[in-house]
Symmetry: C2
Subunit: 157 residues, 2 copies
Amino acid sequence: MFSQTVEYALRAAVFLASKIGAPQTNEQISAATLVPAAYLSKVLQNLSRGGIVQAQRGKHGGFSLARSPRELTILEVVTAVDPIERIRTCPLGLKAHGVRLCPLHKRLDNALAEVERAFASTTLFEILAEPTKSVPLCKFPLPTSDQGRAKAPACRD
Amino acid sequence: MFSQTVEYALRAAVFLASKIGAPQTNEQISAATLVPAAYLSKVLQNLSRGGIVQAQRGKHGGFSLARSPRELTILEVVTAVDPIERIRTCPLGLKAHGVRLCPLHKRLDNALAEVERAFASTTLFEILAEPTKSVPLCKFPLPTSDQGRAKAPACRD
DNA sequence: GGATAACTGGACATTCTTGTCTTCTTTACG
DNA sequence: CGTAAAGAAGACAAGAATGTCCAGTTATCC
């Protein structure tokens, strides 16, 4: 139900959030997130236009998050590439319905609202900070011992 | 975020729910729901295969709900034409993630689960029974007086 | 049983999403 | 300044979703 583009954008954003201060090239992001490089560059362009990431051309260039992972939400990433379209007026174009949606569309819109709310309430930071055995984008599970727990393990880079 | 097909299927299902005992032809449903007739017939075929509606060929034929509106949920209609695909395994195909989704995909899947839950908890009957000024698929708002409140107003047919 | 009404199924067209490729521009570094 | 690294932009290809059309099949009625 979420588009491929949304999935790709989130992978890229989460990856960049784990690389603060170190711009990543399209190739590097592609390798880490398993998103086709040629398409990823389009997605990153949209994220750039949407103010989610910053692009730097030339040698030593690449993409980096434009804002702190602590304030960047899933919703903002999604909105930059494939905005959730709330149902604001009757899809049948019935004038009588206008702003007041019928019970059917009210429920559909409520579901959209709930998704929006959920996405708006999670930051990239939270996703990276969550203790889990499945580190985002990481091939290897966290060691169960507490060796190397000092910081999140570096993965796929 | 919901496909056109889902929107169309729900319109048709709600309409049929308001016409229990009276099969409606593809043309009638199309006229009432403003769904292109040629495409609607495909949607209805899927609803038929999914056991949501019953098709009757020949003169006086048409489509009718296969089950009671009181037990038919939005989710069942949606599932028949365009199932919500929950995220069950890591979309990157990382073996280490397997069944345990990473925090990112866990949240995406939670959103899907929430939509599923919301859809599963609403029946077609509830949608028709809800007191509102915007009757589903109906061109005209309910009269504010209580004349003609005996049953839901007939609309678009 | 013939005519008519209606769904069925398949072929086709159109549009949108996803994906690829090539050329251009910008930047850093020697 | 020249070269190489990198993103930007546009054209194009493939596939899926949406939409249209038509011939075939089934059911009812006279």
